[in-house]
Each structure stands twice: as C-alpha cells, then as structure tokens.
C-alpha cells in the first residue's frame, strides 16, 4: 500500500513536471552572475512561458541586460563574466559542458539595442544565418528570405531592392532587418535588448506590433526601458532592481496591483 502511494506520488510529480516543461520554454534556477567582484545578477528564479512575451523592466544598471544576454550565452563573448546556477531550455541546462554554444545561439536568437546589420546587401544580411548553418540551395534561400522579411513586416518596403546595401535603410527598417535576420534561422526563443531605444515613435509602434505578431510562433523576452511599452506588449513582466528580481507576474497585475512597494514606486515613476 505504502509503496503504491509512493509510486502514485511519483507519477503525479512526473506529470506535473511534464506539464511544467510543456508550458515553459525556458527557466532559470538560482542564477547568479558576476563581473569580477561585481555581483550583477542575484539568485534569479524565473520561468518563461511558451509563446508569450516576457518584459524585463528596471532602472539602468539593474542587471536586466546581463540577465537577457545570459539566456543565449552572449555574456560569454560580450563581457567576461562568471555564472552560477542553471538556465534550462526545454529540459537542457544551456550551461552544461556538453552543450554546443553555437547551437544554443541558433535556437535562441537575439536582437540588439542598436541595429547592427552587416555591411552587405539586404538579401545577404538575411541569408547570412542560413549560410553559416550550411544552407546553399538558392531556391530555398530565396523563399526563406522572403518569408523572414514578411514575418518582420519589411518585405513590402524592400522587395524590389534586395540587392541594395542594408546600411542605406532607415533606422527602423534596419532594426526590422535585424529581426528578419534573427527569424531566418528559425529560433525557438527571440531575445530583444531594448530594440526600440534608438527609434522614433512610428518605427517603435511598428516593432511593437510586430512583436505581438511574432509571439504566435516564438517565445519572446524583451528588455525595455519604457514601461508603457512593457505594459502594451507583454504578457508577463519581471521587475529587476540592483540585480535582484523584485517581482514577476502577469503584466496586468504588475501595472495595476503590484504586490511589492518597490515595484509600485518604480512604475508610478517615484524613482528610476
């Protein structure tokens, strides 16, 4: 009898774990990041639901960008840092020694704060990620590039000039090109690091609209300075301060009835 109870308990737990895994694309466990002696990210436990937009807000220097970059291991290259804890992508810890970093970065795409197209043609920018992943078939490339540019809501503006230089596009177009480039390699998660901070309101609106559209296919994490933006586009919001996760909840709740005083102070603009 007792044994059976244990088994049932195990099965139930296992089921619960499985539903957890189905629901969540990524999760961090006791994540700590240091730059030298600076403890930049402190003990973060956070789960990211599939096909949702998760916004990360907080004052400058709160560790939100560092946290974001740890999700696709870009911290390994951008700033030398030390990391502790786990980050699961599906069931796999992306910091395990047997993990191929290159593959992780293909699965978890990233769009940077400042648009950074390569000094190549529009076509070649989007083709780049496919080419480095070994795709040579011209027809496939063309189809894929059209698809990605359409997904990034840029196709109509550039379809007749795919061979012109990407740097001749406007700022907002360049950023959407970077999004198209990230989408082309079929990532599962797309990370946005303040993607609109250098853009005018019209371009920003376009990108926000786009992110709403993208969550149907991808899981999205976006760091933003702009609280209205977080409120407009995200399903969940994480509030970071001084490297700590102060509050993480549904966006509606964070912006209407935050449970912590600090969160309320921040979103009502009392500091930050």
């Amino acid at each position: 009898m007792v044994k059976m109870a244990i088994n049932m308990d195990y099965a139930e737990r296992r089921n619960r774990d499985l539903t957890f895994l189905k629901r969540f694309k990524m999760s961090t466990t006791n994540l700590n990041i240091w730059y030298g002696a600076v403890h930049a990210v402190k003990n973060i436990n956070l789960s990211i639901e599939k096909n949702k937009v998760i916004a990360i807000i907080g004052p400058s220097g709160c560790g939100k960008s560092t946290f974001l970059r740890s999700l696709n291991r870009m911290n390994d290259v951008i700033l030398k840092s030390r990391i502790e804890g786990k980050i699961l992508l599906d069931e796999k810890n992306i910091y395990d020694t047997d993990v191929d970093v290159v593959e992780i970065r293909r699965k978890i795409g990233m769009v940077f704060q400042k648009s950074n197209p390569f000094p190549k043609s529009i076509f070649e920018n989007v083709a780049y990620g496919l080419r480095v992943n070994g795709i040579k078939d011209k027809n496939y490339l063309e189809q894929k590039i059209e698809r990605s540019l359409k997904d990034a809501a840029l196709w109509k503006e550039v379809e007749d000039r795919l061979d012109s230089l990407a740097l001749d596009l406007s700022g907002g177009q360049q950023q959407r090109l970077c999004i198209a480039r990230a989408l082309a390699v079929e990532p599962e998660v797309v990370l946005f690091d303040e993607p609109c901070s250098a853009l005018d309101p019209t371009a920003t609106a376009k990108i926000e609209e786009l992110i709403q559209e993208l969550k149907k296919k991808y899981t999205i994490v976006i760091v933003t300075h702009n609280m209205q933006q977080a409120a407009r586009i995200s399903d969940f919001t994480a509030f970071f301060m001084l490297g700590e996760l102060i509050e993480f909840d549904k966006t509606d709740k964070i912006f209407t009835a935050p449970s912590k005083k600090t969160t309320e102070d921040y979103i009502t603009g009392r500091f930050g």
Partner: protein, 284 residues
C-alpha cells in the same frame, strides 16, 4: 592681455615653423635627387642592362630585382602577419603573455635593419642553404616588415565594430565563421593598406639584402628565386662606393635614386588612396 596675445603668437609661430622645416626637408631631398638624377633617366635607362662595368646602360635588372624581392617578401609576410594578428586580437586570451608578444613585435620593428641582414645570412643563406638569392633576401625583408603588417592588421581588425561579431555569433555562427565571413572582409582593406606601406619600406632597404640577395653586377636577368639579383638601393650603394669611374657612376647613382624614390612614393600613394576609398565606403 597683450602679453597673452604675444605668447600665443610666438607659440603658434614655433609650431608653424617646425612644420615648414619638415616640409622643406622633404622638398629639398626631392629637389636634390630630381635635379641630379633627371639627366640620366629616360626609357633606355629603365629598360636596358648595365654595361661597360656599370658606367653606362640602364638599371633594368635592379628594378626587376627590387620588384622580385618585395613580391617575395610580401608573399611570405602578409599571410603570416595577418594570421598572427587574427590570433592576437580574436583568439588569444588577453593577458600577460599576449602583452609580452605585442611588446616583442614592437621591438622587432626597432631592430636595426643590418641585424636582419646578418640574421638572414645565418638562417636563410647558410642554415637553410638557400644561398645568396631572391628567396633569402625576400624572406629577410619579409621578417623586417612583419611588425608593420601585424600592427596594421591588428588595428584593422579592432576597427571592425564588435556589434558585427555579436550579430554573427547570435545567429549561430561559429567563431571561425564569424572571423572569416564578417570580420576579415571588413578589415581586409586596412590590412592591405598597411602591407603596401610595408612594401614601400622593403623596397628601399639596403642592409637586409646586402648579405642575402644582392649582386654587385649581373649580366643576365634572374630566372629563378635561387638566383642572386641586383636591387635599386644596393645598386646605388655599389655605384657610390665601388668601381673605378666615379665620374660616370655618380650620375647613374642619382638616376637610380630618383627611380627608387618615385617607386616608394608611388607605392605609398597607392596605400593612401586605398585607405581613403575604404574610409569613404564604410558607413559604420
């Protein structure tokens, strides 16, 4: 108030004068060489073999020799220097060892050129048994210009914005792919510029080829890299220090100097034009 103006006037006067003196020195050299050399330079001078014990004829073998030597030097030094620069800036963990290597490279640039000549004699001529030849001289000149190439290649690599590397890595490119597909194509013009300046330097050096490649006088053009050759700088040296007909030899020496100086200036101009073109084209 007046005093301040006077001070300023004197201060600017001094720096302006310094600039003028430098320009004067450059033009004096050019003027001096052109005036003395122009008389002998003509098509025959450029296209004929020397004869009558170097008192008459042209300097074709020296021009060709200098061309072969610098080509050999650049073929050896460019890939090596670029590879070293890639390692130093892209791969190596920045730390004490890399600092020491960088200091070493800088010091290599400061070694007197005659020492390179002796090194080339000991290593390429004797140890590897290449003899006195284009190969030995070219390799010696290659080592001489290696620091220039490494330094300019490193600078060119560092000028490529990090955001390009990040974008590439974030798309699932490996480090190697990132370097070859994104970083190098954007750095190659800078690397070439530095290397062309290196060629200019190599073309003008006498000491490194003195014991390794230069022939005092050849009657036939070189036909393999194991032949010794005449070269422009050494030809001037030979004309001025050896031989028994100074009256006939000195004008030829100035003519040779004129050819050499315009060759080097020409090479440098190409480098500068390339650099400007490249700067105009890059928008990041």
């Amino acid at each position: 108030m007046r005093l301040r103006k006077i001070k300023e006037f004197i201060g600017f006067g001094i720096v302006r004068l310094a600039t003028i003196i430098i320009l004067l020195a450059l033009f004096a050299i050019l003027y001096f060489i052109v005036i003395r050399g122009i008389k002998v330079v003509n098509w025959q001078f450029l296209s004929q073999m020397p004869h009558s014990g170097m008192t008459a004829g042209g300097i074709l073998p020296a021009i060709l020799g200098t061309f072969y030597l610098t080509m050999c030097a650049i073929c050896f030094a460019f890939p090596l220097g670029v590879a070293a620069a890639i390692y130093l800036t892209e791969y190596a963990k920045q730390g004490k060892l890399i600092r020491i290597i960088r200091i070493g490279v800088s010091n290599l640039a400061g070694v007197p050129s005659v020492v390179f000549g002796l090194f080339g004699l000991a290593v390429f001529v004797k140890f590897f048994g290449f003899g006195i030849s284009i190969l030995s001289g070219g390799l010696t000149l290659g080592i001489l210009i290696l620091p220039t190439i490494i330094r300019s290649s490193e600078e060119a690599l560092l000028l490529v914005p990090h955001s390009f590397r990040w974008a590439s890595l974030a798309l699932g490119a490996s480090k190697w792919q990132t370097i070859f597909k994104v970083v190098l194509p954007n750095a190659v013009s800078g690397m070439l510029t530095g290397s062309i300046l290196g060629i200019g330097r190599a073309a003008g050096e006498t000491a490194p080829i003195l014991f390794t490649a230069a022939a005092f006088y050849t009657t036939k053009l070189p036909c393999s890299i194991f032949n010794e050759v005449q070269a422009l700088p050494y030809h001037i040296y030979a004309l001025m220090t050896e031989g028994v007909h100074p009256k006939a030899q000195v004008p030829i020496a100035y003519g040779t100097a004129l050819v050499l100086i315009f060759l080097v200036l020409g090479i440098n101009c190409i480098a500068i034009i390339m650099r400007n073109r490249f700067r105009r084209r890059q928008k990041w």
